[in-house]
């Protein structure tokens, strides 16, 4: 049976290449990236063979512990491929233990498992300093691979079991996003840690602690023996026990999964018509009400809107550490927010999936559709950018700079919506299906995605160049330029917006059936 499962997994992996050329290109890029990371890690580990144990030990233990943590967390958040989800074999009536073993072995045939296997092999080289350390490293390497693969399978299966309902999946996605927001300052702080003597001391302490946790034990055992510490044998034992317990947990989880049907959440009830009751009963307003409702209810929109405040925070923090003066820092966030807010709607139709048929069947006016969809962005963006520009001007020490700020961000915002009106009607690209995790990559992502994203994103800059130049002149040459920037920015922005809206509306009306056809294909 193990051979059957290995063959199945190999076939599934090979089938990934039997898709469209663009997808194969995407997979090839992924493989190259994985290969580059692997080669870097392997070369570094071989290089550490010639470093003193006091350096090599902490590097391997800390890096290794983070890797194991990655195997634990990534499947939870990303929901890795579940082609070999135990539940799929529930109806074949297979023995649980044998199924657990077969699935565990088949999990070795995957790119992450291959990478970790090569890295684990390289650690044997790192510790080939004495016969004892070599022997312990030889025993620890397969344990490392087993722990990583089992942890990933367990966390994927547990996620499948616990997060089977739509609502819990959405909750997790929201938690993940908030986690990312909270993590970004920590990453910035970490990047500023001094790599001096005190840093080395911190690392030694951290690795000593991690070495006794299940995360680091298999990495720490050969390091300890190489340093002449017999405790390494105990750590090896701990790693073996960890792997054994994980195997038992995996077996138990497979058994539980086989007899647990897919769960369903308790439906929530809504009263009245919500936004539909508050806005006029005209097609454009109804589409606006629908968009507003979706922005608040559909987690895929929530994720894309949450990225808007994260990016400027991260950029400002990083540039602040680099040493950009505060006066310039104050002027940065608002245009960045404007850029993302304008860009957010550039693929709006794709989020409807095939439900767009309703608009096609009713022959909805293009302008009503385009404007309706932009309503949430406009309602949030316009006041935010105006208030933000005033605050940024004051913070920068020159309130007049607020005019230039509004000129630049208004232009980016309006241009983005204008371009988005056309691109969302003409070039919708695949997105996660309604109800699935917002981090789930769509099955048929292609070169189109990257092309549309970069074209619309970069396209926003070109019309904003005059406003940006005038605003810079304002900072360097005198406040009068800020007003010129305001007029130029809002003027050009409005023009691009109006043209984009009309063009997008015409495309939408003409290509309704084709838009639906592309949604069906996705």
């Amino acid at each position: 049976m193990i051979a059957e499962f290995l063959r199945l997994k190999l076939q599934l992996t090979a089938n990934a290449f039997r898709r469209s050329p663009w997808q194969v290109v995407g997979i090839a890029i992924g493989l190259l990236y994985g290969a580059a990371v692997t080669i870097l890690a392997v070369v570094a580990l071989i290089g550490l063979r010639f470093a003193p144990v006091s350096v090599a030990g902490p590097v391997v233990v800390i890096g290794g512990s983070i890797t194991v943590l990655g195997f634990l967390v990534v499947p939870l958040v990303l929901g890795v491929d579940d082609t070999l989800d135990p539940r799929r074999f529930a109806l074949f009536g297979l023995d649980r233990t044998r199924l657990a073993v077969a699935l565990g072995v088949a999990a070795l045939v995957s790119i992450p498992a291959l990478v970790i296997a090569l890295v684990a092999l390289a650690t044997i080289v790192t510790w080939s300093r004495s016969p004892g350390a070599f022997l312990v490293a030889l025993l620890a390497a397969p344990l490392t691979v087993a722990i990583c693969v089992l942890v990933a399978r367990i966390s994927a299966a547990a996620a499948g079991l616990l997060l089977a309902t739509r609502r819990s999946r959405e909750a997790l996605a929201a938690i993940a996003v908030v986690g990312l927001v909270l993590l970004s300052p920590i990453i910035v702080l970490l990047s500023t840690v001094q790599l001096g003597p005190s840093g080395a001391h911190d690392a030694a302490v951290a690795s000593a602690v991690l070495g006794w946790t299940p995360l680091g034990a298999s990495w720490a055992a050969p390091a300890a023996v190489a340093a002449g510490d017999a405790a390494g044998v105990l750590q090896l034992l701990e790693a073996a026990v960890t792997a054994g317990l994980l195997a038992l947990a995996w077996r138990g989880l497979v058994a539980t999964t086989l007899v647990s049907p897919t769960r369903h959440g308790r439906p929530q009830s809504y009263r009245g018509l919500g936004w539909f009751g508050r806005l006029p009963a005209r097609p454009g307003w109804a589409i606006a009400a629908r968009s507003l409702t979706y922005w608040s209810r559909d987690v895929r929109y929530r994720v894309s809107i949450l990225v808007v405040p994260i990016t400027p925070v991260v950029i400002v923090l990083v540039l602040g550490f680099v040493g950009l003066p505060g006066r310039w820092l104050a002027l940065l966030p608002v245009p960045i927010v404007a850029l993302f807010l304008g860009w957010v709607s550039h693929n709006d139709i794709a989020y409807d999936s095939t439900a767009i048929w309703l608009h096609v069947a009713a022959h909805t006016r293009g302008v009503a559709d385009r404007l309706g969809r932009l309503t949430p962005v406009l309602a949030v963006g316009a006041p935010l950018l105006i208030a933000g520009s005033i605050v940024a001007g004051v913070l920068s020490g020159d309130p007049a700079a607020g005019f230039g700020e509004l000129g630049v961000s208004g232009c980016l915002f309006l241009t983005g919506m204008g371009l988005g009106s056309v691109s969302s009607a003409r070039l919708p690209y695949p997105v996660p299906q309604p109800g699935s995790s917002p981090f789930q990559q769509p099955n048929s992502s292609s070169g189109l995605t990257a092309a549309v994203q970069s074209l619309t994103f970069l396209g926003q800059f070109l019309p904003a160049i005059p406003a940006i130049v005038f605003a810079l002149l304002g900072v360097l040459d005198g406040d009068g330029w800020f007003l010129v920037s305001l007029v130029a920015g809002l003027g050009i922005g409005s023009l691009v917006f109006a043209i984009g809206l009309q063009l997008g509306a015409r495309v939408f009306e003409r290509r309704g059936p084709e838009i639906l056809a592309s949604a069906v294909r996705m």
Binding site: Y270, A281, A286, T354, A355, A361, H363, P513
Partner: protein, 304 residues
Amino acid sequence: MPTEPGTRARAGETTASLPVPEDEPTVRMPAAGPAAAATAQARDGGSSRLKNRPVLRIEGLTKRFGPTLAVAGIDLTVQPGSFCGIVGPNGAGKTTTLSMITGLLRPDTGSVHVHGIDVWREPERAKRAIGVLPDALRLFDRLSGAQLLHYSGVLRGLDARTVEQRSADLVQAFGLEDATGRLVADYSAGMTKKIALACAMIHSPRLLVLDEPFESVDPVSAANIVEILQRYVRAGGTVVLSSHGMDLIQRVCDHVAIIIGGRVLASGTVDEVRGGQSLEDRFVDLAGGRKAAEGLEWLHSFSD
């Protein structure tokens, strides 16, 4: 609005105020041009010429997907006030044909006229007369049932008061009173079908094009839907539906078309098409006869 004499009392209680097709489009067109003249004539009670004008005329419709010719030249005419069933084996091109009628899928060649209006030349006017229930397409399912009905009505150009009134009637008629506040994503398959059907009717179209309206609907609800549709047809509306339920089509429809391999192999009144046989036998004959159920002998000796 034509009313029917002697409406049955029980049915009247639950479905009395359902939207029935009006003789003029719900959304008024500018009072000029041939359309206005046509509606004016229709309002006069209709000359015999207009009464006989087919509500749906399909000519030479074809659609190719890559190497497969999904629809290979379909001609079909449906008269107003008929209840027309379309049957065919899986993959025969039923859904493709219905999508081209409703303006959701662009045909390669051929034309579709609804009430004399070319669907693909004047989609805006033609689509007002059509109510659509597609198969296997999503709904805006993050809306509650009430919101989805409102959205469908407003997109079709109805005003708030009309939408509210008709929504209430439709919800009652389809027995969805307890479900209007829930998200459509949380509905069962049968309830989803019913809310989609209600959305298709809310603008009182002249022609209802329903793809598999009874799929995963329980028998009681199906009987209820049939009754709603029959009342609609008696009031002058036209229903074109596809189904795999031969008994149901034989019982409910007055016309039937059998589509196999992208062509209409038989069409006419149900009695004409079945010619003394049951509709199911006639259909199986046309589809190439029953496959002889041989060669599965091992299935009769159980392996445990």
